[in-house]
Amino acid sequence: MYRPWWVSGLLAVVWPATAAQLTLQVQDHRGSPLELRDTVVYLVPETPQTETVRKEQAPIAIEQRDRAFVPQVSVTRTGSRVQFPNRDDFNHHVYSFSATQPFELPLYKGETIPEITTRQSGEIVIGCNIHDWMIGFLLVVDTPYFAASSTGRWTFSDLPPGRYGLRLWHPRITQGDRQSETIEVTADGNLALTRRLRHALLPTSRQAPTGSQDEEHYF
């Protein structure tokens, strides 16, 4: 069933959902399942929660492989380690000028794996100073409740009861479709939600040299 995003949001607030498990399905603006690689859904608690034992996030890796960032889209939590292994046999010079966390990892190759530790939530766009077409996206969230999916379907289990801001993120999803709605989770039952994007996806950020850059090696 299709409901505009804002109507769903309103209904969700007015009629609190009652579930400890949340299943979310997202469709693109045409109504097909959003099969977009590594699309992130995360839930930001809006009621105070006591996280008795902080769930430590395992380090994630953003590789440089064949002059591309792999995976191109990643998500992790604040205070986590992000490693940048170079799988190419030549140098890369990884950087970000994003306000969230600007950084620079100088030329390296081989065994040394440089890393950063995420400080605050937000989007970090990653580039390479040598290979201009390389582009990667890292989303840092300040919540333990996040998941990436490539099928347009997400499941969150064992959610503590309370109100959450539900958010959707991917570099190809427009700002308008990324805004959050509030959902309420109670101790019993399952909550299944279906959402549909209002806008078409933004163009792909292809990590490949343009034709002319490719021909520079074609003497």
Binding site: F97, I135, S205, G211, F219
Partner: protein
């Protein structure tokens, strides 16, 4: 001139080695090179080549028929630090006075971007980024052996000896499919640029001038001891500084993610046309250049450039002696198919002589058709065949006892070996 270059090189080398530090300087890991050798079999029907004082339009003439060294060259790149690269190109062939010459030597500084605008600075001797064709190593073209009239002229008369900066707003960081680039340069040298174009006219070839190169001028009576321009040596030294006044170019370019682009450049060497030094006049040369590249479906590429400008040379009193308007354009289609590349190019070029100096008619009107097929044998070997036909009228040919209107045909078969060494 030599002093200027060596001083500049010393400064560039010093500047580059300071932040890099002595230990990095000797690291062979950061050195990469590209070596290229091109052997050509030629067949031309031009009677006198322009390299031998004639007024034909192709590189080779009848006398050259047979095997020739098209080009041998070495491009060296040294990564002095994460953001600084030093690059130099040494070319050799059998033409000009300098069989071997430096065509480029510069420092490239690419600071880490602080926003979606990514910039670079270049200092030294280098090609202004004007050609759509010469995008291969050593400023070669992946499409044809002889480049268009426009880019042949850039290869022989234009070189930046100075500073250039270029800033690109990277669309991928701001959700756009277009990159916008703005660039500008201040340079010395290039004061004689315009002399070859005026006196010899447009030509289509693959020759590149370099440090110390003397490009021969046609054997016209105006350069005789009693001729109008007896002060001019029988050659042009394109990179030479004559009036100690810097020139500039500036432009912008939109480039689509898939490689299509549209660009515009304004170039003005700001030469003082009343100056002459060591037998080289200063020519005040200005032009507009519009460039269009279309990446069409199925590996088909369209390249088109249009250049329009003027040049002025005067006597010491500042009275104009040579005043020419010029324009040239080309349209090329190139199709890649597996190991093959097929290219067809149409050139149009013209010079309009606006002065009334006797014996110095620079008027020219011509067109050219280039057909080229390349075959990549292996990664390192490439074979090409090219047929070039140039039909041009040039009244000055009468002075050499030749017909004003000539058709020059040239067939080239080339075998190229190119190898890249070292770090990527």
């Amino acid at each position: 001139m030599k002093n200027t270059i060596s001083r500049l090189l010393a400064a560039v080398t010093l500047a580059a080695s300071l932040p890099a530090g002595a230990s990095t300087w000797v690291s062979i890991d950061n050195l990469s090179a590209f070596a290229l050798v091109d052997l050509q079999a030629t067949h031309s029907d031009s009677t006198t080549g322009w390299l031998d004082g004639g007024l034909n339009k192709t590189r080779f003439a009848e006398d050259d028929n047979g095997l020739q060294l098209g080009l041998a060259g070495l491009e060296l790149r040294y990564k002095a630090s994460t953001q600084l690269t030093l690059q130099g190109t040494l070319l050799a062939d059998n033409e000009f006075n300098t069989k071997a010459r430096l065509t480029e030597v510069f420092a490239l500084y690419r600071p880490i971007p602080r926003s979606a605008w990514k910039g670079h600075w270049r200092a030294g001797l280098f090609y202004p980024a004007l050609s759509l064709e010469n995008r291969g190593p050593l400023w070669t073209s992946p499409y044809t052996l002889s480049t268009s009239a426009i880019n042949s002229w850039i290869g022989e008369e234009l070189r930046t000896l100075g500073l250039e900066t270029s800033w690109t707003r990277q669309g991928r960081f701001v959700g756009s499919t277009l990159d916008l680039t703005v660039f500008g340069s201040v340079y010395w040298g290039n004061d004689p640029a315009g002399s070859l174009l005026s006196w010899r006219g447009w030509a289509l070839h693959d020759l590149q001038a370099g440090t110390g190169t003397k490009v021969p001028l046609p054997e016209l009576s105006l350069f005789n001891y009693n001729g109008t321009f007896s002060a001019q040596r029988p050659y042009s030294q394109p990179i030479k500084e004559v009036d100690d006044r810097p020139g500039f170019y500036t432009g912008l370019r939109w480039k689509h993610r898939q490689g299509s682009q549209l660009g515009y450049t304004y170039y003005d060497n700001r030469a003082d046309p009343s100056q002459i030094r060591d037998g080289q006049y200063a020519w005040h040369t200005r032009f507009h250049l519009v460039s269009l590249e279309g990446r069409l479906p199925g590996q088909l590429t369209l390249l088109a450039q249009y250049l329009v400008g003027d040049t002025l040379m005067a006597n010491p009193q500042g009275e104009p002696k040579v005043v020419n308007d010029f324009w040239a354009s080309y349209l090329m289609l190139s199709q890649r198919w597996e190991r093959w590349r097929y290219s067809i190019r149409l050139d149009r070029f013209r010079i309009k002589d606006l002065d009334s100096t006797p014996d110095d008619n620079n008027w020219e009107d011509g067109r050219a058709l280039t057909l080229a097929v390349n075959y990549r044998i292996t990664k390192a070997w490439k074979a090409s065949i090219e047929y070039l036909i140039v039909d041009a009228e040039r009244p000055a040919r009468r002075q050499l006892g030749e017909p004003i209107q000539q058709v020059n045909r040239q067939l080239l078969v080339s075998l190229r070996y190119g190898v890249s060494l070292g770090a990527n």
